[in-house]
Assembly symmetry: C2
Homo-oligomer: 375 residues x 2
Amino acid sequence: MHFRPELVHIKGYVPGEQPLGDEAVKLNTNENPYRASESVFDAIRKVAEIGLSRYPDPLASTFRKAAGRLYDIDPDWILCGNGSDDLLTILTRTFVGNGELLRLPYPSYILYKTLAELQGAAAETVHFQPDWTLSHRFTDNPAALAAQRETHERSNRLRLAFLPNPNSPSGTILSPETILRLAEELPCPLVVDEAYADFAETNCLKLVEKTEKIIVSRTLSKSYALAGLRFGFLVAQPQMIEQLLKMKDSYNCDTVSIAAATAAITDQDWLAENRAKILATRGRLTQRMRDFGFDTPETHANFTWNTRSDIQVKPIYEHLKANGILVRYMNYPGWGDGLRISVGTDSQIDRCLELIEKYLLEDGGERIGELKIEN
Amino acid sequence: MHFRPELVHIKGYVPGEQPLGDEAVKLNTNENPYRASESVFDAIRKVAEIGLSRYPDPLASTFRKAAGRLYDIDPDWILCGNGSDDLLTILTRTFVGNGELLRLPYPSYILYKTLAELQGAAAETVHFQPDWTLSHRFTDNPAALAAQRETHERSNRLRLAFLPNPNSPSGTILSPETILRLAEELPCPLVVDEAYADFAETNCLKLVEKTEKIIVSRTLSKSYALAGLRFGFLVAQPQMIEQLLKMKDSYNCDTVSIAAATAAITDQDWLAENRAKILATRGRLTQRMRDFGFDTPETHANFTWNTRSDIQVKPIYEHLKANGILVRYMNYPGWGDGLRISVGTDSQIDRCLELIEKYLLEDGGERIGELKIEN
């Protein structure tokens, strides 16, 4: 059968392991370990009373109004999606055509590359510096980067750049000032993927007013503990929203998720309390991993990135998995590997740290680096 | 900003009017007028108890197993989507590239044309015969149809055909034997969009075993009264599913909708009872519209298509709207116009019929055709 040829040869994106049972402690996909605000579930139960026989509001207006109030943004600057994945797909399809180019930093969210490939486009990666900042090369015109590519024909067709901020897997963040400069230098829109921004101190929402080139995407999956709901939104200037609207499925958000998401962002007390808990646990996790000898950069997200130059870390992932704890082992060719550990509850993190410590202390502590000495 | 040029020039799909208030009687988007099975809402309430902090199952396996049991199909032949719109988008993106061709009958579901345009592809329409059958031209190779097109360059690049069955707006149906013949003659896959098949006597699910060229899509929006939930599925041979999976968003169905959809298809008693009610009302609506002088073909869906050759029907749509009843006025250039009326509750349909009768009787009954004489 005649599939599009570019499709047959790509692998497709593989999301993090999602065991169907409830036994495993999941610290591998940056889910929030706590239950969402009860107002979310009240909203869901209310929808169940009303029924679902009618189509949802295509624009999710109740959510857009609530988000507009919260962030002091006109609702016409907001587009809702079936998770931010839906929005990233809409953005890629809107800007990047067959044979064109999408730019992303490396290492970052692997999905961006798949989105380009599904469009028959190419993804061009620019390596982060060792300190997780970006060099001027991120905004270079494509011709300047042509040497690293297989073909030169796409050299003037850079159409979109994705930048997760805070980044995954590192949890590091670039300042709004830096992002604005990157956007101004780029010849195309810059999507700032703020999936984790609620765990950071800064964000780029206010930059959208300054330039139509900056588009900010958000998700309720992480900071609102609603990964199972699939709801995200993006903020862009209205002339951008107008075109993006044509690309989305008419009813991309369902009635339950619109009501639940609206309830979620309306309960900012819940967010503040949840955030404080996550940040406290995150600080402890970061410190302990450093004590164990890991290189763990300061994180602004709900996970930590942990690398070693002295020992292999994949066996640690396997050791944890064998003991019922899933973390994410990631290996980035040309960069290195590491363990990305989501911030779980205190007891989940205690159990995880305990297992790592025991593993490192095996064989007379040879694998623990400086830990024994420090202790 | 550099949008994809094909996007800027298209209008985008405009769904049927969706008033946000609860006052209007909606007979315009083929929603089911009844409340879904209570087991659906029990499932939703159960999800609300468990919480939504985890990502959903990317494959919606519980639904696929339940549907597999119901239809005696291996779950690996089933792909779930965020409404059948999501599936139609996935199918179009999988098979139809930039500059290629998608075929659809006319008049049918307008969205198909938009889906082709969003890919930078073209849609080629083949008119139904006046009796709503399809001529051999639907399966002609594109070169034979080239004369009607603006450009010939796409003439050998037909990649996908969509066929709603039962069709909208007509409600008419082609037999499985006819569909199989069409598929065998086509040079590309044939998607049989069975959004309304639960209201018909036949369907094409069993044809999927016979040829990989037939793909059947279904939705829970109509027959299960779950338009607000966004859940659909398609049935295709597993080597087709394998490629389609690469194209879908990782978590395209949310935890609530997977649980609710699984509960819905498990309650076949509810479906049988609801279907019987809809079909009884549908029969009465059809008969009365014919009595009023409309040309109303025998319908196999949850709506009727009503045309007149003697009087304008758009004023009837406006008259109904002014009185709080929304039906769908559709005007197909080169074919004609008509009113598509969804099968509502008995009292909704009574009210609609009463308003139409009164309208036709105004001006001394001049507009009612033969009705006065028959009465």
